[in-house]
């Protein structure tokens, strides 16, 4: 600092070496100074902090209000035990169905150009933008039309367990499709093209190259579908009804408790759902971070820079092997 300040200038001629060009022509004080970054980060953290605090406060309020006593009472209730089982079962079935449909639809939308694609794209978004009650109502009306009505009469779909799964499936699949499409969009088609030149058919290239590389996307799509299904309420209420021991999934339990004024019970069931969702999220995160599931994802992040210095010895090895 002192040698840059104006007072240091007289000392410069005394030095035997010629002064650097900078000090001769340019002004010696710093000409421009970027504004401090502090306020920017402060703004970011205040906004983020409010939202995070809101979420945490909501959960804490639930815990405080319901208390552990109600929690025990709820868990002991056979109705709730049924609802837990039905929720877990229906969510898992829905997730499998949703991913099963989402993978081909996502791949088609990502890779294939066809007439009317924009229309199909819009249709695929309908379950996301439609009010949940309307979805349930539409399903109900659909199963009152002649061909499906016969099916309904025979199998008993509406107001029974198949309706629960169908209602969950209608919404969850739309989210899974979006996720899978984004996954395939991000994936370069070059790997597939190379596989084709190596003699693969389209389906071989899909199964051997595309699907293994989309594992993270598959996992995300499945998690999303599962979580959406767990919270699904509106369509189930309209299409499957809220019959105890029959179509009572956990959100329906919350509704039933609220409707008889048992707010503590409703909150306790809500906490149970939160707990289940958190457990699933954590398990998926751990699996996703696990070595067996996605080695290259972590590996790439870790190896980029440390690998560069390691290049030199490898290159010598290479040279020796082919000369």
């Amino acid at each position: 600092m002192p040698d840059v300040s104006p007072s240091a200038r007289p000392a410069a001629p005394a030095s035997p070496r010629p002064a650097p060009a900078v000090s001769a022509d340019l002004p010696l004080k710093r000409p421009f100074r970027a504004k401090a970054d502090g306020p920017f980060y402060l703004g970011l953290s205040i906004l983020a902090g409010f939202y995070v605090a809101l979420i945490v406060a909501m959960l804490l309020a639930d815990v405080y209000y319901a208390g552990l006593g109600h929690f025990g009472r709820i868990l002991a209730s056979p109705n709730i035990q049924f609802a837990i089982k039905l929720s877990l079962l229906s969510c898992c079935v829905t997730t499998i169905l949703a991913v099963w449909v989402a993978v081909p639809v996502g791949y088609l939308m990502s890779r294939v150009k066809f007439r009317g694609k924009a229309f199909v794209d819009a249709v695929l978004d309908i379950p996301i933008v439609l009010p949940p009650l309307v979805i349930g109502l539409s399903l109900l009306i659909l199963f009152r039309q002649t061909p499906l009505r016969a099916l309904d009469n025979y199998f008993g779909i509406a107001f029974d367990k198949p309706a629960v799964i169908l209602a969950q499936f209608a919404v969850a699949t739309a989210f899974a499709v979006r996720t899978m499409r984004a996954t395939f969009d991000e994936m370069s088609p070059r790997q597939e093209q190379v596989a084709l030149t190596l003699g693969c058919s389209r389906s071989q290239a899909f199964w051997t190259i595309v699907l293994p590389e989309s594992r993270m996307g598959l996992l995300t799509a499945a998690t999303l579908a599962w979580a959406r299904s767990l919270g699904e309420f509106g369509p189930i209420l309209v299409f499957a009804g809220s019959t105890r021991q029959r179509t009572e999934v956990l959100p329906v339990s919350v509704h039933l408790h609220l409707s008889i004024g048992d707010i503590e019970g409703a909150v306790a069931v809500s906490l149970l759902m939160i707990l289940m969702a958190v457990v699933v999220l954590v398990v998926v995160r751990v699996l996703a971070g696990g070595d067996w599931l996605d080695r290259s994802f972590r590996g790439r992040r870790r190896s980029r820079s440390p690998d560069a210095p390691g290049d030199a010895p490898l290159k010598e090895g290479e040279g020796a092997s082919h000369d």
Binding site: L196, T197, L198, T208, G299, K315, H322
Partner: protein, 217 residues
């Protein structure tokens, strides 16, 4: 022999217009052209990954226009190599053989041969994410050669490499071409590369191949 007869291909903003050229069998053809001149599109058309609007692709006298990519017998190395992220180097080299239902013993032999040819014997069990640029290109080259194609299409195989690896790879390409007798079409925008490697030089300007020069003795 790689031959294009009045190939017209539409690809997004530009299109290739009546491309006609030929690279004689067993020669190293280098196709030069500025970025965005349609070199990659032309390669993809020859490999069967894009269909031409008009014209034919003729390989060793056979009209393969409309054939599936896998039926053409072309080894393809796309830009950036496009290695399979989840496979080891060994799996890369054996993939095409596995598709062709070779026996385990045949595959082992062929992989050893290939590994020696392209110099990846020491990294057979590694996955792409740890490989250097030069190693990646060697693997991509080995994978393209694995099923013994008579034609090799290379899309800017040296552009992402540092000088040392580039020199190594140039030598390797030249040697591989001589040893296997494969007919090469190598796309690049680098004149030096073209001068070192080419038996046969083509230039693409504004969607047309305008000039061919033979360096073959």
């Amino acid at each position: 022999m790689i031959e294009a007869r009045s190939l017209t291909v539409a690809a997004g903003a530009f299109h290739l217009d009546g491309i006609t050229f030929a690279v004689p069998a067993g020669q190293y053809g280098v196709l030069m052209g500025a970025t965005g001149s349609g070199k990659t599109t032309l390669l993809e058309t020859i490999c069967g990954l894009k269909n031409p609007l008009i014209g034919q692709v003729i390989l060793h006298g056979l009209d393969v226009t409309g054939w599936k990519p896998g039926d053409r017998g072309i080894g393809y190395v796309p830009q950036d190599g496009a290695l399979f992220r989840r496979m080891t180097v060994r799996q890369h080299l054996s993939f095409a053989l596995w598709v062709r239902r070779w026996s385990g013993e045949q595959i082992r032999q062929r992989v050893a041969e290939l590994a020696a040819l392209v110099g990846v014997a020491h990294i057979l069990d590694r996955r792409p994410h740890g490989l250097s640029g030069g190693e990646s290109q060697r693997v991509a080259l080995g994978r393209a050669l694995s099923f013994g194609p008579e034609i090799l299409c290379l899309d800017e195989p040296l552009s992402a490499l540092d000088d040392d690896s580039r020199r190594d790879l140039v030598a390797l390409l030249k040697r591989v071409q001589r040893e296997t007798g494969v007919t090469v079409l190598h796309v690049t925008h680098n004149r030096v590369e073209a001068e070192i490697l080419a038996d046969y030089r083509l230039r693409i300007v504004e969607g047309r191949v305008i000039q061919t020069e033979s360096f073959a003795a």
